[in-house]
C-alpha cells in the first residue's frame, strides 16, 4: 500500500506539468481552455470527495450536490451580504457543508443500502426545493456573483490564479487522502467496507466512523462548491439538483470506486468527453452512457484500474 518512489516521481511530474498548463495554453493562444481546465479540477475535487464517501466509506450517497452546490450558494449569499474575502467565505462554505452533513448523515446512517441512497437523495432534494423557493436566493435563476472572492495576497480575478488555487486544492486533497488511507482511521474504514458486523463486534463505533467519513467528504465538496461559484460567476439551482449528484456518481464509477485517482480521472473523462463529443455530435450523452456501460461491465476498477493506478485494496 506504500507509494513507491516511482509513483511519487510520476505524481510530481504530472503535478509539474499541470502547474505549467496555463502558460502553455496562453502561449498557444487558447486562454479559453484555462477556464475549462479549472472546471475540470473543481469537478475532480468534488468527485474525489464523493469517492471518499462511496469508495472508502462504502456508503452510496446520492445527495452530494447538496454540499457541492450548497458551498456555491454560501459563497454567493455571503458576497451579497458584503463578505468578499475567500479567507472568510470559503471556510464558512466548508463549515456549512460539515454542519448540514452531520445532521443529514446522523439521520441517514440509520439506514443501509438502497434506503441510504434514497434518503440522502431526499435530503438533497429538500435543500434544492428550499433554495429555489427562496426569493433572496434568486429562485430558478440562481444567484450571480458580482465579482470573484478575494484571496489576498493572490489575485483571484486572474483565471490563471483561480486555476492554480483549484489545482492546489485538488493536489492537497489527494495527498491527504493517501495519508488518511494508511492511518488508523483509514485502516478502520477498510475493515468496515469488508465486514461491518465484525468491526462492530471488535468494538469499533461503526456509525461514528462512517459519519466522520461522510462529513469529511461533504466538507471537501463544500470547498469545491466555493471554487465552482467563482469559476462560473453564478450559484445555480442545477448545481443542487439530483442530476448533479448523479453526474458526480457517474464520474466516480467511471474513474474507479475507491481508487484514489478515481474521482479525478472520472471527472476529466466525463467532462472531456462532453466537451469533445459536444463539438462533434448532438448525441454526446448517448456515447457517454455507452462508455459508462463498458466501464461497469469490463473494468470494475474504472479508468484508474485500466491505468494501473490502483493503490487501494478493494473489498
Amino acid at each position: 500500500m506504500k507509494a513507491s518512489p516511482r509513483s511519487n516521481a510520476i505524481e510530481a511530474a504530472v503535478l509539474f506539468v499541470a502547474a505549467l498548463l496555463p502558460f502553455l495554453l496562453q502561449a498557444m493562444g487558447e486562454e479559453f481552455y484555462i477556464g475549462f481546465a479549472t472546471r475540470l479540477l473543481i469537478f475532480a475535487l468534488a468527485a474525489t470527495s464523493l469517492n471518499f464517501i462511496v469508495g472508502y466509506g462504502g456508503m452510496v450517497a446520492f445527495g452530494h450536490a447538496a454540499f457541492f452546490g450548497g458551498g456555491a450558494y454560501i459563497v454567493a449569499f455571503l458576497m451579497q451580504a458584503g463578505i468578499v474575502s475567500a479567507w472568510i467565505a470559503w471556510p464558512l462554505a466548508v463549515l456549512a457543508a460539515v454542519v448540514a452533513s452531520l445532521a443529514i448523515g446522523a439521520l441517514s446512517l440509520r439506514t443501509r443500502g438502497v434506503y441510504f441512497i434514497m434518503i440522502t437523495l431526499a435530503f438533497a432534494q429538500m435543500i434544492y426545493y428550499s433554495i429555489i423557493s427562496l426569493q433572496s436566493a434568486g429562485g430558478d435563476d440562481g444567484l450571480p456573483l458580482e465579482q470573484r472572492s478575494t484571496l489576498a495576497p493572490f489575485d483571484l480575478a486572474s483565471d490563471m490564479t483561480l486555476y492554480w488555487v483549484a489545482l492546489a486544492a485538488l493536489a492537497g486533497c489527494l495527498i491527504a487522502l493517501r495519508r488518511l488511507a494508511n492511518s488508523r482511521y483509514g485502516r478502520a474504514l477498510a475493515g468496515l467496507r469488508q465486514n461491518e458486523q465484525r468491526m462492530e463486534a471488535l468494538g469499533y463505533p461503526v456509525d461514528r466512523l462512517k459519519l466522520v467519513c461522510f462529513v469529511i467528504g461533504a466538507g471537501i465538496a463544500g470547498l469545491a462548491g466555493a471554487l465552482l461559484v467563482n469559476q462560473n460567476g453564478l450559484a445555480s439551482p442545477t448545481q443542487l439538483y439530483w442530476t448533479q449528484s448523479g453526474m458526480l456518481l457517474v464520474m466516480v464509477i467511471l474513474g474507479g470506486v475507491g481508487q484514489r485517482y478515481g474521482g479525478m480521472l472520472g471527472a476529466i473523462a466525463l467532462l472531456g468527453l462532453e466537451e469533445a463529443l459536444g463539438l462533434m455530435t448532438e448525441y454526446a450523452h448517448l456515447y457517454i452512457g455507452l462508455a459508462l456501460l463498458a466501464v461497469v461491465l469490463f473494468a470494475p476498477r474504472g479508468l484508474a484500474g485500466l491505468a494501473g493506478l490502483t493503490d487501494l485494496r478493494r473489498a
Binding site: 495519508r179 488518511l180 494508511n182 492511518s183 488508523r184 482511521y185 483509514g186 485502516r187 478502520a188 477498510a190 475493515g191 469488508q194 465486514n195 458486523q197 465484525r198 468491526m199 462492530e200 463486534a201 471488535l202 468494538g203 469499533y204 463505533p205 461503526v206 466512523l209 466522520v212 485494496r313 478493494r314 473489498a315
Partner: protein
C-alpha cells in the same frame, strides 16, 4: 466464586415466541462455562443478548458490577465482552495479519482513538508485533501475509479466535467455534480453547458433547428459553431433568 457476569430474569421474544424466557445465569471469573441445549433452546439468542447484538425485553445483565443490558455492542466490547460468530466473520480481502491488527487497534484503552488520520498505522509497530503474537498463539504465524479468504475453513475459525482474543476480553463468547469443522480441525480448536483454561473466562456454545464435557468447568443447560441446571459436568451428566429434556440416553 468471583462472579464476572450475572444474568437475572432475562427475557426476549420474537413475535409470540419467547426465545429467552427468564434466564438466570452466573459466570465466574476464569471459568470455561459451556452453554448447551437442544436446537431452538435459545442459545444463540442468549449470546446475542449478552454481546449486545440484541436488546432484552426485560431482565438484567450485570457485567463486572455494572448493568449493561442497554449498552451498544461496541460499548460492551470496550468493557470487555467479545464474541465470535457461528458463521465465520473475518475481513476476507485483507491480509491475515491486518485482520488481527485491526482487532488489536480496537483497544482504545491501550492505544487511543481509531480516528487518527495522519500518522501511518504501520508506525505503531507494537500493534503489529502483538498481532503476530496472537497469530502464533493460534498457529497461523506462517499465514500472516496471506489474504484471509485464502485460508482453509479451520484456519479462518482459528483466525477469528485470534481476533477475539486480541481485543483482550474479560469474557469471551464463543458461538459454536467448531461449526463446520472436520475432526482434525475440531481437535485443534479444542486444544486452543483448552489452552485458555484458567486465564480467560469463556462462555462456550457447542454441540459436540465430548468436547463440552472435557473442556468445561461448569455447564448450563438451556431448555425452551430457561436455564434448568447450572453445575459441574458430573452433576449435569447425571441430572435426571437434563437427561429427560435434552440428553436422552446418549450419555451413559
Amino acid at each position: 466464586m468471583n462472579t464476572l457476569l450475572e444474568i437475572a430474569g432475562l427475557k426476549r421474544h420474537f413475535g409470540g415466541l419467547w426465545a429467552t424466557n427468564g434466564v438466570d445465569l452466573r459466570i465466574g471469573r476464569g471459568e470455561i462455562h459451556a452453554l448447551i441445549g437442544p436446537n431452538g433452546a435459545g442459545k444463540t439468542t442468549l449470546i446475542h443478548l449478552i454481546s449486545g447484538a440484541l436488546r432484552p425485553d426485560a431482565g438484567r445483565i450485570v457485567f463486572a458490577g455494572a448493568d449493561i443490558a442497554r449498552h451498544d455492542m461496541h460499548e460492551r466490547v470496550a468493557r470487555g465482552i467479545t464474541r465470535s460468530y457461528q458463521i465465520t466473520q473475518i475481513f476476507p480481502h485483507l491480509p491475515v495479519l491486518e485482520n488481527v491488527r485491526l482487532a488489536v487497534q480496537s483497544r482504545r484503552r491501550d492505544w487511543g482513538s481509531s480516528f487518527r488520520m495522519c500518522r501511518p498505522a504501520s508506525a505503531d509497530f507494537r500493534m503489529i508485533e502483538e498481532a503476530e503474537e496472537w497469530l502464533g498463539r493460534v498457529g497461523l504465524a506462517e499465514a500472516a501475509g496471506q489474504l484471509a479468504t485464502d485460508l482453509a475453513h479451520g484456519q479462518q475459525r482459528a483466525l477469528e479466535l485470534a481476533m477475539a482474543l486480541a481485543t483482550r476480553p474479560q469474557l469471551l463468547l464463543l458461538d459454536e467455534p467448531m461449526a463446520g469443522m472436520g475432526p482434525e480441525e475440531s481437535a485443534h480448536m479444542a486444544t486452543l480453547i483448552a489452552s485458555l483454561k484458567g486465564e480467560q473466562t469463556v462462555l462456550l456454545v457447542e454441540h459436540d458433547m465430548d468436547i463440552v464435557f472435557r473442556l468445561a468447568d461448569r455447564i448450563s443447560v438451556l431448555v425452551a428459553g430457561r436455564v434448568i441446571v447450572s453445575a459441574t459436568p458430573d452433576v449435569v451428566r447425571n441430572h435426571p431433568e437434563v437427561r429427560r429434556a435434552y440428553l436422552g440416553d446418549d450419555i451413559q
